[in-house]
Amino acid sequence: MSIERETFAAAMRAFLFCFLLTAPALAQTYTLSGKVSDTAGHAVPSATVTAKSVATQKSFTAETNSDGMYSIRDLAGGDYEVSAVAGELQAPAIKVTLADAQTTDLTVSLAPKGAAGLPNAPQQQQGPPANPNAPSLSDLGFTTQQTQPNTELQARLTKRTEMLKIHQRLGLITAIPMAATLITGPMAKAKGKKGETITEPTDANLDFHAALGGLTTALYFTTASYAIFAPRIPNNPKHGGIRWHEALAWVHGPGMILTPILGYMAYQQENSGEKPHGFPAQHGTVAWITASAYGASIVAVSWPIHLKFWEKK
């Protein structure tokens, strides 16, 4: 096997390894659906059904339609406590495990709050005594749109946050092999044992550099996918550091495509006895610009940074 093929194979192995590492994050999701009815069996529209993950304590909600039907999509597998509420009606938490079937059907029966058989009925908060003269929310002139709950938007926000958390973590992890790839780049032309310059890259250095590059590329695009496919929130014009974060993606994104291509072309030129020339000779420069833009985008989304973070405030 030629050095070229071995290098390519090493990069592919790194890519596959990384893909397998991140695959569980893209794993199967589950849907919880069913009907909410009252004790007489009548459908209850506009009831809020909440599925709370036992493991993460995250809650996912849905509202029933006019037929009392609800559906909570994109749930991760595991144990959930499902509860429902509609005005003065509520249901105790029901334990459900989402594991085998992709869609789990659960019918929820509501009873008046505080009724017997509702061990999980929440205690009412004891506030100040109600005063008939006290102003109410309706006295303040807010629109219905402002005061009404939007469970669909909450579900989108939850999904968005989950995806962006993964984006953030993977983004930080990606910075490690990216830095290592930059460091190992010049080593492909390191001085030999007796001090002479090695004009031909050594197999080991090149393989390592290519493997790191492959790992970085795979992690980078996996990271990017979590931001690209995160749900969009309508009517929400962007401002602040996030604008720089996204603008810099237009630099490091193309850079992450271009860098490995130029690296491969430069290697081919060296392999055929030529000194890298033309665009391939810019492989290192493009890599540094890409990494710098990547670092700047992390700083942008972290701004303003409290630099003396070790000091007690």
Binding site: L140, R160, G241, H306
Partner: protein, 182 residues
Amino acid sequence: MKPSFLFGLALAVSAAAPVFAQPDTQYVLQQSSLSYHMSHPMHEVDGTSHAARGKGICHAGQCDFLIAAPVKSFDSGDTNRDLHMLEATRGAQFPMVQVRTHFAESEIQASTVYADLEVEFAGQTAHYTHVAFQRTQQGSAVRITGTIPALCSDFKIDRPSFLTVPIKNEIPVHVDMTWQKQ
């Protein structure tokens, strides 16, 4: 009974009537600034809302005030952070933050007003007792400033994290309101 006595009694009753049947006094929130402060090892962030509305009704010497603001009206200077806060505080499901308080009308005149607050936020209700607010008279308006010592845990909020490090539990809310007596 002498007519002059009856006339005198009627005069006294009519003179005293406004005292016993005082009309309600109302206060309306003219302008406000509500700011939560969030601490993270790498950040010190304030999110501010100027969208609060409020009303106070004083009846028979007792006053009830309600101040409310849409959760999504808080702006920290970064859309991404605000959406994260909106998600963490369940702001789409519970879109309003509401503060209620009740005290005697005579207490409003003091330079420092101590209020018991009932705060409804993120689907939870928390009570804060004896919160001090500074009162300044500005012409016909009254300016009230103070800080509500709120905690994320008071409202069962999963603390938002950045770079995998969560923010501090304390999210004090600074209040600066100008009320106009109607």
